[in-house]
Symmetry: C2
Subunit: 612 residues, 2 copies
């Protein structure tokens, strides 16, 4: 048998965390199993290059295929891709909080019994007499007698399984019961069975699901899929309009979403060898429109001011009615929403912060829109910035989502030219969100654009610039080096799109800071959430004015914070109460109605010359 | 407008009941609307001839088509078919308790506020403010504020309907909420809406459903259908064996049943213009095996001794999981069963008796099997007699269910020949249950069979008798007069089948009387339940020894008593408690294990010479 070996996770701003694994195990798998959600977009398959960690200790040799994902400097400092590494002995892993999303949960779990976790389910042994020939007592009656005071809520399938083993003449049966909150028995079997829950985060662009063991809080499986609704529009508003214009539009969009989620759940069930019956509880977060789609509620209220849905509070719904592959009596809890376009995902993101009640913080969640929350010692303000999809590569000539062939980092080289880093091993296809911010920052640093964002003459001298349909166009990768055979470009119109997006996001931040009576320098923490946040260079984000000029040490990348909040709520009724409290505390600010909004927005369109 | 006019219902053993109808209305419809379930097998269509009543008062002239259903003696005494009659003015209707099933409920309802009915649902007016443009409050939040202390459990469809009318700028909305048990709101609409429930009685042979208004207890619609599972066997045991032998047998039988019920429910919804969403609660009764089929629970336990199912107590199940066309959050209550083959239908039948706690009674429910209950001042004994389907025409050469072309009555004419009465206007097809008992009684009266049931020589002289494959065969209808072109016959083997059936039923009665320590003459009431009971000539049933020699005045035909009990439970939580109490009180007697059973049974096979 393989030897047990200890892994220590270190992160600049947290206590170290230790856990055990077996020698020979894959490092990425080991970290995953420890309860931490890894950021690798490819989920450990080794083709996204996003699971970079610095290592000290016993690890296998680096291979050529791993080497090609790493920059020379990274190779020098001992950086590896976790999903390529095989553990050989004791190991210290240095986590880069900007590169790797650390779930608070994982830390809570290792340090001490997590405050939030209260084991919603327990296994209990039950002994029932066999079926007697002269006074036959039905199986369910014998079970009820053996479990007094508990409500039996077994499914028909479960009862049929038990009936199979309840043979006449058998003297007694030793069984295991899953007891929920010391009240209800939802499953009885011959051996200890898993009671699982799902935390679901349904975004406009992608869907995320985690399967957890409700008895010990362990993560069992993860699944991420693109939201297939995008066929009906990349942005949520065109999907809402599709519903208004087509009588069966809502049903169609709901069905696409449910099928999407069903296939994710089925994958996780298969991966873990779990039967649907063992999924007893679901917690769902997402933006308000997605939550309406999920339930099949008409989202018409989001098509025009005052942008309100049908419901906004916590909502419980039977899963059976939706046809998801889960226990027919499972319940789905939709966490409360803030209002307008600010949804349960934002409430969940706040819920994932250990210090939302005590600190002064700014939370920016960059998805297809941008949600912003400002907290001032337990009081909260929230708004949704109509930033559009530019930060995700939407509406940008060579924009794309992070993946094989995406340029994810750009900087100026000493000669004033543009250098870039590629994800994966295919030729360059386009720019993902982090590179879009990098290129703007680099262009400003080189004085290749002015404070209005106009491409300067200097750019024409130092870079390859041509005239295109969307104005002056900087060629980043020539057509013969690119994947598609067309050059990877960045043009005047793209710059315009980023200006609009960063102005919207920044104005939202400015307005909320003002409402909260806070100045930037008073901020103790700045949390960047969303998949995007993981790869972002915070210096550049500040430089282009997307986020305010704050000390970069205060910045935390918290990855999919909404999912972390959903997980916490799944494992703890206290956290569910806390979510309701957050909803009570938060002041929703409708930016469209905010008096100074237009002038603030116009001010933010330009690039701040002071920061040059 | 038509004039209001009063109808008085009279029955020998009950206080008269009065209700109002409109002149010009059909009498059958009027009685139905009064809350009484009519016994007519054709449901008032005028082709079963089973809604006979004696009338005094203002009624329209008899038509030729009605006349052909009535015997000369009936015509003389003013008997009419209710479903043919048009009310002209005040009317007294004499109900024959042996011909017409009077639901206790109807009587309870008219005399006084029914003890059992506690209006599980009430309509309440709600006023909510409109959606304001600057501080939009979601619809559901406004509703929750207007209905403090109540739990909102609205369906998605309902919320979507309300969202449609919640237009911006509308100052306020006046709505009606359906409040359940003063606790939960399950529907809100612009106008008062019905809250409906279903009482279902699922028999091996036929299915019965009533839709009721939960707010006032009114019957809205009725549906009866043959149980389509019969393709897999007329008797329940062959269906159980089908499940044991085929891996998908159980699922198939369940699906047949659910489709069957769904189409019945859909019919009633259409007839009453109700949407499925308005069915909030279902109460289900039936024999134990049918209840297992309904839920999809393995009925293997019924294939061999000790004949026990998986469950026996009251059971609550979400309707959504079964795909019935009802509100997705509706619940189904399965009333408790007695044990063995004695099911929730028997518990419900006892529940329908006004005096089960105080009287000494015998209840015989004749279906495909026969269930017998003996009550002695609140203590109960029950058994299931394996009588087989002979009393329903099963296994009898010319047996058939009551319907067009069925012979339903047989007697001796003064010349010693056999006279019969036909249902409907087609030529004779066969004999239904009541005629099977009549013919045995007639053959005994004419000394055409001896005490062993053997066809005598005298029969050969007075009747048309031939030798057939099943022994001596009495020809009742010649082939040229019959529907099929083959004679309608009754033969030695048929007699044998009836002997076996009546012996089984009678032995069950004898055993239970003995267990209860009761003699026949102590019985205060004898209740005959089941569709069959309605047409039975009680003198003949006593004469052939099927039921004990008791005063015929004590006999009550209570029709579908199981359905009446299910209805009572649907309308009243008190009645649900009472059903549990009945289950507690009843001693189930397993006849197969009863020491004297064999000798008692053999004794009962013969026809009692004393009763000749
Ligand atoms: S997770 Fe390691 S390369 Fe993608
Ligand atoms: S109900 Fe009147 S004839 Fe059938």
């Amino acid at each position: 048998m393989a030897e047990r070996t200890k892994i220590t996770l270190k992160s600049p701003d947290r206590p170290p965390m230790e856990f055990w694994t077996l020698a020979g195990k894959n490092l990425w798998d080991s970290i995953m199993t420890s309860g931490m959600v890894s950021p690798g977009a490819c989920g450990g398959k080794g083709n996204c290059g996003q699971c970079k960690v610095k290592l000290e200790g016993e690890i296998d040799e680096i291979s050529d295929s791993e080497r090609q994902y790493l920059l020379p400097e990274e190779l020098r400092t001992g950086t590896r891709l976790a999903c390529f590494c095989r553990v050989k002995g004791p190991l210290t892993v240095y986590l880069d909080p900007l590169a790797l999303a650390i779930q608070d949960q994982a830390w809570l779990k290792s340090d001490s019994p997590p405050v939030a976790f209260s084991a919603p389910v327990k296994n209990r042994q039950v002994l029932i007499p066999g079926m007697e020939k002269d006074s036959p007592v039905p199986l369910l009656t014998r079970l009820a007698r053996a479990l007094p005071g508990l409500k039996l809520e077994l499914t028909v399938d479960n009862l049929n399984q038990l009936a199979q083993i309840d043979r006449i003449g058998r003297p007694a049966l030793e069984l295991q019961a899953l007891v929920f909150k010391e009240q209800a028995v939802k499953y009885i079997g011959r051996k200890r069975e898993k009671a699982c829950g799902l935390a679901l985060d349904i975004g406009s662009t992608s869907l995320f699901a985690v399967m957890l063991n409700l008895e010990d809080g362990q993560h069992l499986a993860i699944s991420t899929k693109p939201n297939m609704q995008r066929v009906y529009g990349a942005d949520i508003l065109s999907r809402v309009l599709h519903c208004l214009e087509n009588p069966d539009g809502l049903e169609r969009l709901q069905q696409i979403l449910l099928n999407n989620l069903s296939s994710m759940i089925e994958e996780m069930l298969e991966e873990t060898g779990t039967s649907p019956e063992h999924i007893y509880y679901l917690v769902l977060v997402g933006n308000p429109v997605m939550l309406h789609f999920f339930l099949g509620l008409n989202p018409a209220g989001f098509a025009q001011a005052p942008y309100a849905g049908i419901f906004c509070d916590e909502f419980t719904y039977p899963a059976a009615g939706l046809g998801l592959p889960v226990n027919p009596e499972a319940e789905i809890l939709l966490l409360p929403q803030v209002g307008g376009f600010v949804g349960a995902d934002t409430v969940a993101a706040v819920l994932s912060l250990p210090d939302w009640r005590s600190s002064r913080f700014l939370l920016v969640d960059i998805g297809t829109n941008g949600e912003v929350v400002v907290g001032n010692r337990g009081k909260l303000w929230a708004a949704s910035a109509a930033a559009g999809p530019a930060f995700e590569g939407g509406g940008i000539s060579s924009g794309m989502i992070a993946g094989d062939g995406a340029i994810d980092k750009i900087c100026l080289n000493p000669e004033g030219g543009l250098e870039y880093n590629l994800i994966g091993d295919s030729p360059a296809r386009g720019l993902c969100g982090s590179a879009i911010i990098d290129i703007i920052a680099s262009l400003r640093q080189g004085a290749y654009i002015d404070s209005n964002g106009i491409i300067t003459e200097l750019a024409g001298e130092k870079l390859r610039v041509r005239q295109g349909e969307r104005g002056a166009e900087i060629i980043l990768v020539e057509e013969n080096e690119s994947f598609r055979g067309a050059p990877v470009v960045f043009n005047q119109e793209d710059i315009r799109q980023v200006q609009l997006a960063k102005a919207a996001l920044r104005t939202a931040i400015d307005v909320l800071m003002k409402e909260a009576g806070l100045e930037y320098k008073k901020l103790e923490k700045v949390y960047l959430a969303g998949a995007f946040g993981n790869y972002l260079n915070p210096h550049n984000a500040i430089d282009i004015g997307m986020i305010p000029p704050i000390k970069t040490e205060t910045i935390r990348n918290i990855g999919n914070a909404a999912a972390a909040g959903a997980i916490a709520a799944l494992l703890s009724p206290d956290k569910q109460r806390e979510a309701r409290e957050i909803k009570e505390q938060v002041h929703y600010v409708e930016l469209a109605l905010y008096p100074d909004f237009q002038s603030l927005y116009l001010n933010n369109l330009n690039f701040d010359p002071a920061a040059k």
